[in-house]
Amino acid sequence: MLDLSLPLGLRDLTPDHSAHLADLSARLHEVFAGFRYRRVLLPTLERLEVVERGLSSAALAQVLKFVEPGSGEVVAIRPDITPQIVRLYAARPDALPDPARLCYDGPVLRAREARAGRPREVYQAGVELLGAGGASADAEALVVLRRALDRVGLDQAVLEVGHARFAGAVLQAAGLGPSLRAEAEEALSRKDQASLGRLAGKARGDRAARRVMPELATLYGEGALSRGRRVAEVVPAAAQPLAELEAALRLAARRGVREVEVDLGEGRGLGYYTGITFAGYAAGAGSAVASGGRYDGLLARFGRPGPAIGFAVDLEFATQALERRSPRKARRVRR
């Protein structure tokens, strides 16, 4: 009998749902265009060499790779669009002078389901600001994301900011060996304060850093910044990341984005973030509706060094949140 089922973890989007996604992406791109981001269309296949430059080894294991029959070259279906944008930026300095503001949308694919029932193929729309660094570019990314969420009707979404190097600075100062360090990062990703305390007891580094290490799991909610400052007082290496975060928040507030949550214990992304990281969360969506961060190390790996920041909106999770809004709110923002 003819089997019409799809490979595991893939699905079709029916006309209504497809229309929601397309409409959402179109409105996001209106906002992106308003900030002078220009759209690029990129292929779904890349050489593995390009894809792996942008990923941690754990993330690389999740990439669907195969050998091209003709050339014998290993290619991958993109798990992430950011490294492709960086490849384009590095390859075409003639067409893309600094700073380059680019936006995109399209599907990305993972080799396995993140967990049972989650789709492997995810539609994203995002922006990348390449060749621009510092607080001003950080604030721009936060402002564009806030405006984009507001524009599509996710004005209730919470915007949260952290920093990729803050927790790492504390773990580094605490002096954990590689395997304890990996355990500590895993515990921190679960906000498992007790395990962090146990691991701090086995660490051999700075005493003050070991003492504050478990607090990394609690640096969210009201007063997160001031509690973070107290951590930075005893771990000097954490002060610079915190200063970068606060500078970005000050500038974003001056540009009208004042309601921002802080979590200094949140790790994000596929392993290339070096500066502020941020995400949007909305009721009704199973995971973040958007996430991004600064990745100043990645461009050099492609041969055109420079700072960069960007984010992607997950069109599926954003649509989930929009479809599950209460009817009254939905009417209010319908255009």
Binding site: A114, R115, D155, Q156, A157, V158, E160, R190, K191, D192, Q193, A194, A217, T218, Y220, G221, E222, E259, V260, E261, D263, A279, Y281, A282, A283, A285, G286, S287, A288
Partner: protein, 217 residues
């Protein structure tokens, strides 16, 4: 700071059975509200405590992690055995220190050791924990999934070993089994939905802190 209305109730999944009384006592000491009493006084599956901003729902212990992971509950109480058997995308901010027990490898007291190189057959409901445990030791075990009465499997000739949970070891002894080694020390954890923690950061931080203050052993 948050854009989310603070008026809505946060839902807490309370496990039925073994953990109910102890979990309830923790909430009572931390907040002055007993989910057990609230839930016993209603015939519904949910009981509200508006003054604490909480709604307690009564869930089978093995299902709490699923409810919280998928957002049907914001917070829950779940055993570490459940959380490690099937890894979940959850925050686990607090070891509640209740429901202490162990996942162990048990073998018949008088069993002769298996000839060298023979893969043991292991009966368990923890197929992933058991497979990981024997893989780490480099032992090629054959894992057999059972849904109950694990401890009788060796005497009925189904398995050489079992991997099962035990609090006192009494059931094991009654079935002629001894503990060979411990796979996992278990206690109940407070689990929190990943998006809920972001949408209600301060309320959930305070809930975690007040439970922490009464659960620290």
């Amino acid at each position: 700071m948050s854009r989310v209305a603070s008026g809505e109730l946060l839902s807490v999944a309370i496990p039925k059975g073994r953990l109910l009384s102890e979990a309830s006592a923790l909430f009572e000491r931390a907040l002055g509200v007993s989910p057990k009493n609230l839930l016993e006084n209603t015939r519904k599956l949910a009981a509200d405590s508006p003054e604490h901003g909480l709604r307690f729902i009564s869930i089978r212990a093995a299902d709490v992690a699923s409810y919280v992971e998928h957002g049907a509950a914001d917070v829950g109480v779940a055993g570490l055995d459940v959380l490690r058997e099937e890894p979940r995308d959850l925050y686990e901010p607090l070891d509640l220190g209740i429901g202490r027990c162990s996942v162990i490898v048990g073998r018949p007291r008088n069993a002769r050791p298996l000839p060298r190189g023979v893969a043991p057959r292991v009966a368990t409901k923890y197929v992933n924990l058991a497979a990981r445990h024997f893989a780490r030791k480099g032992v090629p075990a054959e894992i057999i999934l059972l849904h109950g009465s694990i401890e009788v499997a060796p005497s009925l000739g189904l398995a050489d070993l079992i991997v099962d949970i035990t609090e006192t070891g009494e059931t094991l002894r009654a079935n002629g089994l001894v503990v060979e080694e411990t796979v996992l020390e278990v206690s109940a954890r407070l689990v929190v939905n990943r998006v809920a923690l972001k949408l209600h950061a301060e309320r959930l931080r305070r809930l975690v802190e007040s439970l922490r203050s009464v659960s620290e052993a």
